[in-house]
């Protein structure tokens, strides 16, 4: 069984592509069903957030599955193949596992260590489990990734502190204005992200906060939710902007609502008072060229990535520790994943040995029957132990080898011991019990 990941993330695709490749629009269950119906994927989980859309698949033929998944992405999201294909990244087997572990740990997030992603990965797995598109390989993979996420959260301080888009925005505002008390903040739109950033600003003791929205009721509701903020109608946008130091824009508008020319007009009477614009809307609310105005500091959600990299560098030691947790868990998963290739051979081998032991015991039964029951039990135990010992080294060798050597060993064992497929098909249980007793 091969493990395959095909998808886009904020590292590979610009905002324009990411906002179009969103499986949540039509719903994950529908997407999973559609993917499963194509046949090449034995198991499938889709992780779709605003920063990534990744399809995890367990399959027999990685090449066929890759083509299938790529076609599925373009057909399901209705984004032309030529637009998506250049941004697709793909990982196979352990690279795919490592990627998911890093995602779950928050290491691949836009804001490193951000806490939401683990929940989103869990939801993705739950959706797949409910749609019955997941199976033993992806179940094991995702449960391992939850363990990684949990360990990173408890054993490192990667996720501690306010490392998020909104925190990055607040830190930037402080580098421009110093103390934020006495500053006026305008919030355009009434989305969750805008509200979150506004709340962060609020804790910094800003002077006045005004919510502007196309619908006054919406603005009033958001203002109430933030607390201590006032609402203003859309018609007063320019007045509010003129009196503000910080603007958080997060509308759902399809077109930019603030152009460079418009902002130049607003900036003129302000003389030199800097204006910090945080454009966290997708698609963007503010024309990129507006950042060219001398005292306008414009950051969109992609730009905040730069500030995050800075946090990443500052928390380099934490990142290193988190990465080593990823590597540890990956090693465990790798052992399991590789050993999966050897399972049929190992089971067959074990059954062959056990069969020999039993037949020999039966053959010698007439000699053993003279012994007291105690001694007979000892004989049974000793022969069992001999078989176990004989199997121990080959089993370990098979489990620890890489994919190629596992194949070669399995082939050799099958020939040497004339193992048939019938042996492998039944009685998988002993092996699994054995696995669980492995030291962690």
């Amino acid at each position: 069984m091969k493990l395959l990941l095909v998808g886009i993330s904020h590292r590979t695709a610009p905002v324009e592509i990411r906002e179009r490749v969103d499986f949540n629009v039509r719903g994950l269950p529908e997407a999973l069903t559609s993917l499963a119906s194509r046949g090449s994927a034995k198991e499938a989980v889709i992780v779709s957030t605003c920063n990534r859309a990744e399809v995890y698949v367990a399959c027999d033929d990685a090449g066929a599955a890759r083509a299938d998944v790529s076609r599925f992405i373009t057909e399901f999201t209705e984004v032309p193949q030529g637009h998506v294909e250049p941004h697709l990244q793909e990982f196979v087997d352990l690279d795919a596992a490592k990627h998911l572990f890093r995602v779950a740990a928050g290491l691949d997030s836009l804001v490193v260590g951000e806490p939401q992603i683990l929940g989103q990965v869990k939801e993705a797995h739950t959706a797949a489990a409910e749609t019955r598109t997941t199976g033993p390989v992806l179940n094991r993979l995702f449960h391992s990734s939850f363990a990684v996420g949990k360990r990173v959260r408890t054993e490192t301080s990667l996720g501690s502190g306010a490392v998020s888009v909104s925190y990055a925005a607040v830190a930037l505002a402080k580098k421009i204005f110093g103390d934020l008390s006495g500053r006026n903040v305008a919030v355009i739109g009434a989305g969750e992200m805008g509200k979150l950033t506004a709340l962060h600003m609020k804790t910094q003791g800003v002077h006045r906060m005004t919510i502007v929205s196309r619908t006054m009721a919406h603005a009033a509701r958001t203002a109430q939710a933030i607390g201590g903020a006032s609402a203003a109608p859309w018609a007063e946008l320019d007045t509010v902007l003129g009196g503000s130091d910080i603007v958080i824009s997060a509308t759902g508008a399809a077109q930019p609502i603030l152009t460079k020319a418009h902002l130049e007009q607003i900036m003129r009477p302000r003389r030199n008072r800097p204006l910090f614009i945080i454009d966290i809307a997708l698609p963007r609310d503010v024309e990129a060229a507006a950042g060219e105005i001398e005292q306008v500091f414009l950051y969109n959600i992609d730009d905040l990535q730069a500030t995050v990299r800075e946090n990443l560098a500052r928390r380099a030691s934490e990142v290193t520790r988190a990465e080593s947790i990823v590597d540890e868990e990956l090693a465990k998963f790798a052992a399991w994943f590789r050993s999966r290739g050897a399972i049929p051979t190992l089971v067959a081998l074990r059954q062959r040995f056990e069969a020999i032991r039993r037949s020999e015991l039966e053959r010698l039964d007439f000699k053993l029957s003279a012994l007291p029951p105690d001694a007979r039990a000892r004989v049974d135990e000793i022969t069992h132990l001999i078989v176990e010992k004989l199997l121990l080294t080959p089993t370990e060798q098979l489990k620890s080898g890489d994919a190629e050597s596992v194949g070669a060993y399995a082939e050799a064992l099958t020939r040497l011991f004339a193992l048939s497929d019938d042996d492998a098909a039944s009685n998988v249980e002993p092996f699994h019990r054995d696995r669980r007793r492995q030291p962690r």
Binding site: K174, K175, P274, Q295, A306, E310, R314
Partner: protein
Amino acid sequence: MNAIPLLFYVGAMLAYGVHFARRHPIAGRTATTLLIFGALAHTFVIGMQTMEFGHVPVAGATSAISTFVWLLALSYLYTELTTDERAMGVFILPLIVALQTIPALRPGAEAGSDVLKGPLFGVHVSSLLFAYASFALACMIGITYMLQFKEIKAKHLGFFYQRLPSLQVLDRMNHVAIVIGWIFLSVGLVVGFVWAAQAKSYAAGSPQVQAMSIGDPKILVAVVCWVIYSFELFAARLIGWGGRKTAYLSLIGFSVVMFNFVAISYFLTKSHNF
């Protein structure tokens, strides 16, 4: 004698450098301590010279530089201790070290020209030296503003972003330094003109006093400095210049000040070559 404070300044410069690069608190405290010792040693040197000559050693270009460095060190220390902001040290100390090298290498005796007597002369020189120290601080603050501005604007929040105070704080500090500098520059210039007029009556034979006119490079450039800083202070903000442009002006203004203070004093002026 000027070599002793210089050694402390060099040590402080290195420590500020280490503190800025590694952000090690111990390096920062060491830097400030070394600078305080340097300033104390410098105070002692200037005190000794004052006792020796009977006035603050400001008459010759070399001793004026030493006194300027002393004022600059004290002004910077005052700024650092009141704002708790050490980042500027790495920009100020190289200037202090470079300038202090001049008096350390030229330990000439203070000129005792008879022309340079009277309280007005003392006020003239001390005011100007203090103004220059303020402009030096303003210039360094301006440079840090430009570095910080560049990183935030270019969205590459890197080395300086981590280490420098906010734009608004830098802008305000720059403004305060310019205001103080401009006041002392104005006082120094006015007193200088008054003193020159008086000197013409009691020391008319001196070639320096004869050369004292607006046409002399030293005086002309000093007036140019005053024009630059007056523009920065009053006009620039009115016409909507601010932030980066005033930071540029601080840099240009101080370059002119330094040119006047060092190059013109030693080589070009006929009126101020005491």
